[in-house]
């Protein structure tokens, strides 16, 4: 085991693309959102703001935004005012390090933290209607803006862990994220075209789920696909991976709420 570790590290070093800020495996000019790999029907569903089912949650989120919550009876709007201005660009910067706790938070994590620490309310459960609606509403305010996460400073170890995860073969099928989404994007798997696996449209209305879902749910779907242990909701591995994915997608515009097959 002790001899295998440096050998594995050497193999990983050969395999990984280098430090943050250097070249991404898919260069900026070749980045394609998942919607580019979708069928015309899915593209039409996302393009029409009225019939995009994700907008049902965005509307719900708008109502929740102005609804008082918790002991002090404060709503999101009481602190943040009109989300259309205060939340503009917010989603492009997540996951991010929370200055107070030093923790890496994704957008869902920030909302849960606000609810419990600043509103004195119960933190909404993962994949709950409340959390999905608020996440969709806030992410939607950044639609069209390019992802621009920061992976330096305190975020660096999380970024490195996320990147290591991305290139590690896992599961019974023994596949790394990179095997499909970096080495074989654009090719056909059964009848599907493999996308580059970017996080720019979350939360998404996934037709397979028949409902809106978070990026964490989608990552769990991938883990089940390669027959790996599905880590529980809230596991730090998801957030580290999400940070790496966001770095990988820097420059791609946010599309939330996206529609995917």
């Amino acid at each position: 085991m002790s001899r295998a570790v440096p050998l594995l590290a050497a193999m990983l070093a050969l395999w990984s693309p280098g430090a943050a800020g250097q070249e991404r495996r898919i260069p900026a000019g070749e980045l394609k959102s998942g919607i580019a790999f979708a069928s015309p029907e899915v593209r039409a569903m996302q393009a029409d703001d009225f019939s995009n089912p994700g907008m049902l949650w965005v509307e719900k989120g708008a109502r929740l935004w102005s609804t008082p919550a918790g002991g002090a009876g404060r709503s999101c709007a009481d602190c943040h005012g009109d989300a259309r201005s205060s939340m503009k660009g917010a989603a492009t910067r997540y996951p991010a390090i929370d200055r107070a706790s030093g923790e890496l938070l994704n957008l869902e994590g920030r909302i849960r933290q606000c609810r419990s620490e600043r509103q004195g309310a119960a933190a909404p459960r993962h994949e709950s209607e409340e959390l999905l609606a608020l996440t969709a509403y806030i992410a939607h305010q950044s639609r069209g803006m390019p992802i621009e996460v920061d992976v330096d400073g305190a975020a660096r170890p999380h970024f490195e862990a996320g990147r290591a995860f991305y290139y590690r073969r896992i599961g019974q099928v023994n596949l790394a994220c990179a095997n499909c989404h970096e080495q074989n994007w654009g090719r056909t798997l059964l009848s599907e075209t493999i996308s580059q696996g970017h996080p720019n449209a979350y939360p998404i209305y996934r037709i397979e789920w028949q409902t809106l879902g978070s990026i964490e749910r989608r990552l769990r779907g991938c883990l089940s696909a390669v027959r790996a242990v599905i880590l529980p909701y809230g596991a730090p591995e998801y957030r580290d991976l999400e940070l790496f994915l966001a770095w990988r997608a820097k420059g791609l515009p946010v599309e939330s709420p996206g529609v995917r097959r």
Binding site: S39, P40, E41, V42, A44, M45, L189, L190, S191, E192, I207, E208, W209, Q210, G213, R217, R218, R220, G221, C222, S224, A225, V226, I230, R261
Partner: protein
């Protein structure tokens, strides 16, 4: 060949010629022997035409497939579409939906999203105010996900 044999042979040929026409109607579920169609049409023949059923040729997920059904009708006070019925060939519930229009409809067109349990033919039968019935069908290839999502 003796007489009974030749009769049997000719009868067999007639049966072979009739079969393709029968199976097309049956596959499109306008077969009058289908109790689901009978309840709707009460034996009145269903004619091909006037109805246009649009579905994609390929659906990459059967949970949500866009569907448009249009009927060529003036939608006037005296000549209009009463209802449009959608039938599935393979779904566990074959009677998918019924849309009731009427003289105030303006245009006989309905758009929706349907669930399709696998590759199959979907049929639309329109009932007009003059008591006639018209049909169209569309075949959809429904593919499954490459990766199992057990999230």
């Amino acid at each position: 060949m003796n007489r009974p044999g030749r009769r049997r042979f000719v009868a067999g040929l007639a049966g072979a010629v009739a079969l393709p026409a029968m199976s097309r109607a049956a596959r499109a579920q306008t077969d009058q022997l289908d109790p689901m169609v009978w309840v709707f049409t009460k034996g009145v023949p269903v004619q091909k035409g006037r109805v246009k059923l649009e579905l994609p040729l390929l659906a990459d997920n059967g949970n949500s497939v866009p569907l448009t059904v249009t009927v060529d009708s003036p939608m006037s006070a005296t000549d209009y579409v009463k209802s449009i019925h959608l039938f599935s060939e393979k779904n566990p519930v074959r009677d998918m939906a019924r849309f009731y229009l009427g003289p105030r409809g303006g245009r006989a067109k309905v758009v929706t999203r349907v669930r399709l349990a696998g590759t199959q033919t979907v049929t639309a039968i329109a009932a007009l105010s003059d008591g006639s019935f018209w049909w169209d069908s569309a075949h959809v290839q429904v593919t499954l996900s490459a990766c199992m999502d057990e999230s």
